[in-house]
């Protein structure tokens, strides 16, 4: 506890210094709080009080002892991407500052804090969202079209990852866990046999565009969050990922995030200038995405760091492998298993 307290005190001091230097204002006393979030990445909410009043802000940063992993982009690149996407009409929080070593706050960035709901279950059940829910699938399609249209020349270096490369990596990860899932084996086989041709021009792919990573207001999607899995690749990947059953949060008949139909999403995608992508290709990437989520669940059944205790949350996510197995069978059976 005293460790946590001293971290908090240091954080408060360094943040106050930074806010003054940036001319944003003073840290409002007692406003700094850690939001629940990732284990390696911290999200803090706070208010700065400046000449024009209170400014709600967010700090995303790697915790001091976290080692950035290979599969995610570094936080400076993430901030840069968010800014670039914002310039291309993608709703994103405004980036206020990218942390520098001299700030003594770790690696990460400060951004505006946008009011709205991110908890998927509330978005799907709360009455205040009833009206906007029917519009969300179309809106997701439209926003994805804008993300995929961000000119590549303006982007920082990103890895290019099409289906073949992803399947190779996923199979390696599957084997590293000792294999042993007949359903995953069948899914790998099907995915290799039905691989779409690589697009001629790889597009910017968000990589984790789903219900839970969107800030929703009564007026619609206010911001797209969590860009750390961004890469270049097949735009259909994003369209498939948001339809993975685990992101429908119980609303199994509404494939897009639990709120809408694939047809509505694709209509929004075309409306905003996206290329023609058919439902079949979306289903391919839903299958790959389901398998990916299954392997993420499996990796959760290990401690976050070697030697660390396995938390009950991680252990229980490990048991969610079984949901992805049934989802894969549901998809592959509906495919007529050609």
């Amino acid at each position: 506890m005293s460790d946590q307290l001293s971290t908090y005190v240091a954080l408060t001091g360094n943040l106050q210094t930074l806010l003054v230097r940036l001319g944003i204002g003073n840290l409002r006393q007692g406003s700094l709080q850690r939001l629940t979030g990732g284990a390696s990445k911290e999200t803090w909410a706070f208010d700065a009080v400046g000449p024009a009043g209170a400014v709600p802000l967010i700090m995303r940063r790697f915790s001091a002892d976290a080692v950035p992993s290979d599969s995610v982009i570094n936080p400076e690149t993430e901030a840069f991407l968010i800014r670039r996407a914002g310039e291309c009409a993608v709703p994103t929080p405004g980036i206020r500052h990218i942390l520098e070593p001299g700030d003594d706050l770790g690696r990460g960035f400060l951004s505006d804090r946008i009011e709205g709901e991110t908890l998927a279950r509330r978005i799907l059940r709360n009455p205040e969202f009833a009206e906007i829910r029917t519009e969300l699938a179309f809106e997701c399609g439209a926003i994805l079209a804008r993300i995929h249209a961000v000119p590549r020349e303006d982007l920082p270096p990103l890895k290019t990852r099409f289906a073949a490369g992803q399947l190779y990596e996923l199979y390696e990860s599957y084997q590293s866990f000792g294999g042993g899932s007949a359903v995953f084996e069948a899914a790998f086989r099907w995915l290799r046999e039905h691989m779409p041709a690589d697009a001629e021009t790889p597009r910017l792919v968000h990589g984790d565009f789903r219900n839970g990573n969107l800030i929703i207001g009564v007026d619609g999607i206010r911001a797209v969050l969590d860009w750390e899995l961004a890469h270049l690749g097949d735009p259909a990947e994003d369209l498939g990922w948001i339809t993975v059953n685990s992101w429908r949060f119980g609303e199994i008949d509404k494939p897009v995030g639990g709120f809408g139909s694939v047809e509505d999403m694709l209509e929004g995608y075309r409306f905003e200038g996206g290329e023609a992508i058919d439902a079949q290709t979306v289903r391919y990437w839903r299958t790959l995405g389901t398998l990916r989520w299954g392997l993420i669940c499996r990796s959760m059944a290990r401690p976050a760091r070697p030697g660390a205790p396995l938390t009950v949350e991680r252990a229980m996510i490990g048991r969610r492998i079984s949901e992805t197995e049934l989802d894969l069978l549901d998809i592959l059976a509906a495919e007529g298993v050609r």
């Binding site: 629940t36 908890l119 998927a120 279950r121 059940r125 294999g179 042993g180 899932s181 007949a182 359903v183 084996e185 069948a186 790998f188 086989r189 099907w190 839970g212 059953n245 685990s246 429908r248 949060f249 119980g250 609303e251 199994i252 938390t311 009950v312 949350e313 252990a315 229980m316 996510i317 048991r319 969610r320 492998i321 079984s322 949901e323 197995e325 049934l326 989802d327 069978l329 549901d330 592959l332 059976a333 298993v337 050609r338």
Partner: protein
């Protein structure tokens, strides 16, 4: 008279204590982790009750599917290898039915409120049901 309460009864009483008496006193991350812990205890309880029967059913199906009477673990491994080689494919109804039945038995233990599980056994989740406590991460 048999004085030993079964393990599942012990777990049920622990789960009840945590849910009814401890949980209301907690908030935030502690309450969240306690809810996940209660779910874990309930899962273990279902596993104690159902695993043996599920394994027997899986073993019988596999023996028939692979025409072999080896141990369950050996047959599971053989099935994976056959699928990887393409010797047995998902267009064979016997394989599909086996995988489906195995998944459904697994979910009955791991996550009996999961939407696709309820759909598979012909039930629907009640609109207000909670569901898996780790589902929001």
């Amino acid at each position: 008279m048999n004085g030993h309460p079964p393990a599942t009864e012990l777990l049920a009483s622990v789960s009840r204590f945590l849910r009814d008496e401890l949980l209301p006193t907690l908030s935030g991350a502690e309450a969240f982790n306690l809810r996940v812990s209660i779910n874990a205890i309930d899962l273990v309880s279902r596993e104690i009750e159902q695993q043996d029967a599920a394994d027997k059913r899986e073993h019988r199906r596999l023996a028939k599917l692979l025409d072999s009477y080896a141990e369950l673990d050996v047959l599971r491994k053989q099935l994976c290898e056959k699928i990887a080689r393409g010797d047995i494919m998902l267009d064979q109804p016997a394989l599909r039915e086996h995988l489906r039945a195995t998944s459904i038995d697994r979910l009955a233990i791991d996550q009996p409120t999961y939407s696709a599980y309820l759909a598979a056994i012909g039930r629907r989740r009640p609109a207000e049901a909670g569901g898996n406590e780790t589902a929001e991460e």
